[in-house]
Symmetry: D2
Subunit: 343 residues, 4 copies
């Protein structure tokens, strides 16, 4: 417990503030020493709360600060690439929220820099790998107890999206979690992908497709079907079933009290288990475990979580999905050769 990792945070929005609290209160072996944000006041407010240093909007200055050993990037998506590159300039540890970059080329640049340094320094915030449900599914699949995995059926249903949301974001910001978790569960890489045009919900008339269906095939031939409802659904509902040769495993619903009642005298009685509406609650424990693991691995000298390669593959697969839209055809998921560093 000697080592206390000194962290600087870029971006003090909702998730940035949350990670700051998490590191300060829950994660052993780490502390936040400085924060910064495009909006200086946001950084100042967070800094004041914990009595730490604010760099205001001077994010690059904060990254350069010699006291800062590791950088957590929770700024808006389009800025991720630049802050990761800035962090790598100083060969510091970096935890970057998903997505790693806006396009494959930018991810490749990050990997090229890591290869130059000769060390994995970047971890991408695919927190679902740390959810106890997915982790147990992975354990069972890897154990071989129910044979090799063949198929995945998943769905990702949301209640709403913020302004400016576009059809493509349904893949790059929403389904991206499935793009990562499916290949992780299978221990396999994608061969091709298809985004299928389906009947649209009449609730959704905001200019983006909803729902969409994403189909993926892996190198080993596994087939993945992901339903993506970006908005207007009944709740925040994440489901995932992996069909193996001799059985299936399924992500559990969250721990929730079961009620038997007649909620309304005019309606029929039933047994009801609540469904969440707020995505932030669903994987709240996974975020804790994720950062605890990240800090422990950094303090031990080698990151073990999702790497720049994982961020890159999710990006390339997402691009293939978006490119296939409207073609009724599978599109190749073409990545560069996997560098030795990421194997």
């Amino acid at each position: 417990m000697d080592k206390i990792l000194k962290i600087g945070i870029v971006g003090c929005g909702a998730i940035g503030k949350d990670h700051c609290r998490r590191i300060m209160e829950t994660v052993p072996g780490a502390t936040v020493v400085a924060v910064s944000d495009y909006v200086a006041a946001a950084a100042d407010e967070t800094a004041a709360k914990y009595g730490i240093r604010s760099y205001g909007s001077d994010c690059k200055g904060m990254i350069a600060d010699p006291e800062v050993e590791a950088v957590v990037i929770t700024s808006i998506d389009p800025t991720h690439h630049d802050y990761v590159m800035e962090t790598l300039k100083y060969e510091k540890w970096c935890f970057c929220e998903k997505p790693l970059s806006q396009n494959a080329k930018d991810c490749e640049e990050i990997m090229a820099r890591e290869l130059e340094i000769g060390k994995k320094l970047v971890q991408v915030g695919f927190m679902r790998r740390y959810d106890r449900g997915y982790a147990e599914m992975k354990r069972i699949i890897d154990s071989g107890e129910i044979g090799a995995p063949l198929l995945i059926k998943a769905c990702h249903r949301n209640v709403s999206q913020g302004p400016g949301f576009k059809t493509e974001n349904g893949i790059t910001n929403v389904a991206i979690h499935e793009l990562d978790i499916c290949r992780w569960l299978l221990g396999d890489e994608y061969e091709d992908a298809q985004c299928v045009r389906v009947r649209q919900s009449s609730n959704s008339n905001k200019g983006y497709d909803n729902p969409q269906v994403v189909l993926l095939r892996t190198k080993k031939g596994c087939f993945i079907d992901v339903e993506v409802q970006v908005a207007d659904g009944y709740g925040y509902d994440i489901q995932c079933e992996v069909v193996c040769e001799n059985g299936t495993v399924k992500l559990p619903d969250p721990y929730a009290v079961v009620r038997r009642s007649r909620p309304d005298p005019a309606k029929d009685p039933g047994e009801t288990m609540p469904i969440m509406t707020d995505w932030k609650e669903r994987f709240i424990e996974a975020y804790d475990i994720e950062l605890i693991n990240w800090v422990a691995s950094v303090n031990a000298g080698a990151i073990t979580g999702p790497s720049a390669w994982d961020g890159y593959v999710a990006c390339v697969a997402g691009d293939a999905c978006n490119a296939s839209r409207g073609t009724s055809q599978f599109m190749k998921v073409e990545t560069i050769e996997k560098p030795e560093l990421y194997k």
Copy 2:
């Protein structure tokens, strides 16, 4: 399939009409040849529907009819004993809806008559023994796979009761099903019983206790807890769990579609499985199987279902429950020695 059992029905109310339809349409090896009812018009109506003979209100005349080989008694409860005795006068087969009689003495008289005849002719309508759920629980318990049974936790929840319902009826008309099914599941007899006074539902202000809790102990020491809600509950909900030495078995909820939705925008979303409100639907298949089995056993010459002894024990146990009310004490369930005929 040669043998067609010729049946006469006493009582053409809801359950009588239902059994008539069942025998005419669903049960192989039997037909209804005559019906009768305290209200002659009810008998006439049912007879007309199937083109069979109506004895009007001459129930005894119908029982005496030489064509009638077996009598189904679905008249009002207080008349059961007399019609059973009348049927036994002619040594005919008899299927009597529960309860067999209004008191233990009357049941003993029926058994005495059967002993005199030297043959079990009476079956009591404890249809739950024919439910696939209870039957499978019995099979597992008897298999010994999960060890000897130790405890039963049951509940019987109703939506409403007709006029004239009294506290005692909560035992003799409602919990009587549990009084039968529990000893059948356990293969054991009752030692003592206690009806515990509990906090009353403020929904129930009709002059009878609701809910009640019935506790029973068997000769082997098994302990049974039955929650009895006779009215004002959220639905018709029957639950039963048997705890054995190495595991438990539980009655399943009925086959019902599961929905995930937000039924009302002002309420939270949830996964909902409907609960029945009408008791007639819950064991509808069990009634079919019950009568199919009864007819087959009669046609084979020996009844295999719940006997007069079973009807008697349920009656004695119910009396003990009612006698214990308010005493906070267990009351002995004192039966006569079990005659060889019923072993």
Copy 3:
């Protein structure tokens, strides 16, 4: 109850014998008067059991028998078309087990004959429409309570197949049930279909593909994903979830006792709900309801169940699936214009 429909059965194999028993014992308003089978002895045996007439292998003679008002066709698949046409020659009612024919052209011939007669006389044995689970899903979807249907996710998992089974049979004999039930649930017709090549189970090395994934799109754009495991699965497991605009509905698992135990001291304890292995048990109640409904509708003068059109569409959709195999492309499901008679 006056009308008793006189039925002749072609084919006394497993399902033929079962339907015979069902009609004789469970279905009101009907009786079997004659049976026949390619293997004369099979017909003779069934006839003897019920004391009815055997036509031995003279199936056409039986169909022609003036006493026979309706024909149940449960012979081997390739003979269905000819016996249906033979039945229609006499303008008799016909219940034909699925599939209606081996190809689309033969189905079209049957419809042409019905159009000539000007009446629907043929019902196809898609019994799942009579399962209480699917029926309730249909009711909820049609009620609009959870909005328009958008997606279906289904799976059909089997334990084994008989000799001579081929990849194409995975569609025409197995997934054919989903091909029917999905368009019925949606109230929609298919636009195109694709059978996706997926990772194969190493358990299956008998010369046919296993599993397969069938994708379908409807005229309204609904998207359907059907997993088809024809053999070597853990059990007989049928699942179906319909995703609507405001919620989802799901086929329940069969009524089964839940056990909590440690089945083996060397293994971990768990809550277990059994899964069936025998397909005949899964929809056993649906078969009863199906034939009860068929007889009632025939006795009322107009069939209400799955028509020759439904048998035809399943056949055309199955052909499109099989034709698409290996192309990674959706193939049009091209039917003739739907005749007025079937609307």
Copy 4:
């Protein structure tokens, strides 16, 4: 976040070490400054791990240390009372694992001391109140959405017990959790209690009763049935259902992956959800929340968790259960008048 509570721990066994790690790594606003243990080496080892001070076996010296602001008591049960009293001597905050004392009189002494000081300083380790399942049940009950609570059905099943375990411990060490949680859920106090002698598991021949059934009645008349299996069960299984006037709520099973498979070719397939065997895992999150809440409340100046009164009532109720064993009678749960301080 300014305040860092300085804690000393008495008892460095399994739970003591666990709380030490928890406070050092997970709980914000607190740190462990010193440890002690009856076995000096245990204290030294824990102290060395975190670089803190060891008082060896000088527990009283540690409690007296002016740096120590709060004491966590995780020593063996019979020592709890003395260490609590020692802590109160210095008017320091005290977190004491259950049970608060070995008998009612000792608990009364602790309360008398608190009353003298005029402040609640002691919190008892009833961690289940911090479990999200129980907490949500409490929230629903208190909301009145499903009416007033009437009944509780609970069970507590264990896999094994250490040497020296006695029948009475089934109440005071095992069911004590239910003795606390039930009155907390109901917001009610106990009227009387009965420990019912039931059929014994043949697995249990170690000199103590197993299972036992505990019945409790509250002042408002609520009825509680707790099954207590102290050993030889299939797993560690905690269940709790509260029946209210208009519905029921039930403790969920822990978040666990559901598997559908045939675990053994010789056995039937099934859907399986694992059950825990280790009690330490079941409420692991509740322990975290408990200590986080305790520290926050202490730092805010007033404890909000289970008080000495709660520890006392559990103790008195347990004594009544043990006294009633073998009598088949309810025994009064007689407490002193509830002091104003605890209302």
